[in-house]
């Protein structure tokens, strides 16, 4: 039994999971939707912007158009005013973890009346971590861009209120970058004090290290307190 397995090549073993290349993926995706068939919009984009459109990827019937980072506002204005994509469904960032053009920012735009959906993306290099904001075109991008800033550190030029979205301002890291550990950096977020008048707790696992906070009637009165 064992030698027959050894003589087989890895790709022919019944339980190997070889990552498939996109070309060999399922041709007719059962979940592809009619709204994402926007080839005409892509053609119009290419016609208007020429070489600012770097790449068009089609997968599962969806079009992802990669444009030049500096021209995103023009692209969005074109899509909103001339193609009718007036609704921003989602915007966010992505860490490709490559040497060049490490980050990607994507925008999911929707044309409600004509029932169309398109995705625009752009790439950001680690050396120039800034993207022009699209909040003048789509006010809905306000919080989404803040979230992208919070999670990746990509700043958006012209954003009215570029603060962190989820993490407190005191936090110094960008969590969704691939090098940030899942458990976080110990001490980057202090815990409350163990007694009301104490110092903030730096250790994230005091209970595991045997320091459980005392009940209030067990607290020792400090000398500085009066009465």
């Amino acid at each position: 039994m064992a030698d027959t397995n050894k003589s087989k090549a890895p790709s022919t073993l019944p339980f190997s999971f070889v990552p498939q290349e996109p070309e060999t993926a399922v041709e007719n995706n059962p979940h592809a939707k009619a709204t994402t068939q926007v080839a005409d919009v892509v053609e119009a984009l290419k016609a208007s912007f020429g070489d600012a459109v770097h790449e068009v990827v089609v997968y599962a019937g969806e079009h992802t158009v990669r444009v030049d980072r500096t021209r995103i506002v023009e692209v969005c204005t074109f899509l909103k005013t001339e193609q009718g994509f007036n609704y921003l469904a989602d915007a966010g960032g992505l860490d490709r973890f490559t040497e060049d053009d490490r980050y990607e920012v994507f925008y999911n735009l929707v044309n409600i009346t004509d029932m169309k959906r398109i995705r625009i993306s752009l790439r950001v290099d680690e050396d120039g971590m800034s993207v022009p904001t699209v909040t003048d075109v789509y006010p809905a991008a306000n919080w989404n861009e803040r979230e992208c800033f919070d999670m990746f550190g990509i700043s958006f030029d012209g954003h009215p209120d570029l603060r962190r979205m989820f993490m407190p301002e005191d936090f110094e890291y960008y969590p969704l970058r691939k090098e940030f550990p899942l458990l976080g950096v110990p001490g980057s977020l202090p815990l409350p004090p163990q007694v009301p008048t104490g110092e903030l707790t730096g250790d994230p696992f005091p209970a595991a290290h045997g320091h459980k906070p005392p009940k209030s009637f067990q607290e020792v009165k400090s000398e500085e307190e009066n009465g």
Binding site: A89, I112, M115, L176
Partner: protein, 437 residues
């Protein structure tokens, strides 16, 4: 004239001084839509009528840990800054470390009022990414349970919204029916709240007779209950006074601000993912999508009540369909979905497939990325997945409706009266678990 005397919090606050500084600075520099000077023209002392109030993350309104820092001019909210992130877990980062199937329980905890919807949304997104087809019976089951989850979420909205407005008995009535729904979920999925019944490629188990009987019974009793509540509330002077004209947003405004769900439809924008991008079997059932043009809180109230009634219709049609549509509840392909428990227990291959599926799971093509949205009770819940060829996603971005809706809440609160704040939060209906990811 600044009414905030200090923006340096390092003395008074031991924790997050920079965060609060930034927050209060934003409040101060924000453009105010109200006049600073009161009506009689004379410049009055701001301390007499202006106040900065922190409606902190812990407060009696039961919508979750939302912090609103408001600048009040008398009773009117002049400016407001919303601070979220008090429930942030980093679920998107967790997703990068789990397989697609392992991640299912995390989706339950996002919009925890309708966990089945989130499960279905995740499954559909992964199925689109990997190109997995789902058998018909599973689609009908998923649709029915998603509509039950919609009723559950709207019931909680109704109970909690009315309780916050003062009518505590509605909370008890809505929870009575939610308990019935929980019994149904318990019977069908094994858990009351965090179900995780959907599996990639189908659902975990088929419905048994008790489950079907419970659902049929619920669908019979529920419309009567809604009729009773509507009789009480629809022409109720107090309820109408509290909601009429409150929280008005025009159609252009809601689209520009990115609101979603009943907030869009309350202002006349005809956008519902069930008709925009039909998924599961929504094209084969007959139901209406309630849309109103008034754009105020009362319109959204009517929409959610009507949506509950439409959900009952859909559930009845699903029950009919399930009588005839038989078959497997998951696809048969071992690389795409779990084998049935019979196979796992009684055949060697089934056991190995089960193990491999848990260990590695679905492996979509490398570099593929998709976005799939569903109409969750709160709005458009979508997952943007990018695969790296392994069993866990490279990037899983969650487009949660409450996040988009809360952006609009900031605008709604400005210019509103303090007493309407609870109604406004209720009408936008945020769930902080999904807004904070």
């Amino acid at each position: 004239m600044s009414s905030i005397s200090q923006t340096d919090f390092s003395e008074t606050l031991k924790f997050w001084p920079r965060h609060n500084e930034a927050l209060y600075r934003r409040l101060e520099t924000k453009h105010s839509w109200l006049e600073d000077v009161p009506g009689d023209g004379s410049p009055a002392d701001p301390l007499e009528h202006q106040m900065v109030l922190n409606i902190g993350p812990q407060h009696p309104a039961t919508h979750g840990v939302l912090r609103c820092v408001v600048k009040l001019d008398g009773e009117r909210i002049e400016r407001c800054v919303l601070d979220i992130g008090y429930l942030h877990r980093g679920v998107e980062k967790i997703a990068e470390n789990k397989t697609y199937q392992e991640f299912m329980p995390y989706t339950d905890r996002m919009d925890y009022l309708s966990p089945y919807s989130n499960n279905v949304a995740w499954c559909l997104a992964v199925e689109k990414l990997a190109g997995i087809e789902v058998p018909d019976r599973a689609q009908w089951i998923r649709m029915m349970m998603s509509e039950l989850a919609r009723i559950s979420a709207h019931l909680l909205w109704m109970g909690v919204g009315l309780m916050d407005a003062g009518a505590v008995s509605v909370f008890l009535w809505s929870f009575q029916f939610r308990e019935d729904l929980y019994t149904i979920f318990d019977e069908v999925a094994g858990a009351r709240l965090t179900v995780s019944h959907s599996r990639i490629g189908g659902v975990a188990t088929d419905l048994n007779d008790t489950g079907i009987a419970l659902i049929a019974d619920f669908a019979e009793r529920f419309p009567e209950a809604i009729a009773g509540w509507e009789k009480l509330l629809n022409r109720n002077r107090i309820w109408i006074d509290r909601n009429l004209g409150i929280g008005y947003m025009s159609a252009e405004d809601v689209v520009a601000r990115g609101l979603t769900g009943p907030n869009l439809r309350g202002s006349g924008v005809a956008h519902d993912i069930r008709r925009f991008e039909p998924y599961l079997k929504y094209e084969e059932v007959d139901f209406q999508i309630p849309i109103r043009t008034e754009g105020d809180a009362l319109a959204r109230y009517f929409i959610r009540m009507d949506e509950m009634k439409e959900s009952v219709k859909i559930i009845k049609q699903c029950l009919e369909a399930l009588k005839t549509v038989k078959g497997a509840v998951r696809t048969d392909d071992a690389k795409r979905s779990y084998p049935s428990k019979d196979e796992v227990y009684y055949s060697m291959e089934g056991l190995i497939h089960d193990f491999m599926y848990t260990d590695t799971g679905v492996t979509p093509p490398k570099g593929a990325s998709v976005y799939h949205a569903i109409e969750a009770p709160k709005g458009e819940l979508g997952f943007y997945l990018q695969s790296d060829g392994t069993g866990s996603p490279w990037r899983a971005k969650m487009n949660s409706p409450s996040f988009s809706n809360l952006q609009g809440l900031e605008t709604l609160l400005e210019g509103a009266q303090m007493g309407d704040m609870v109604i406004l939060i209720g009408t936008v209906d945020p769930v902080l678990g999904e807004a904070d990811k």
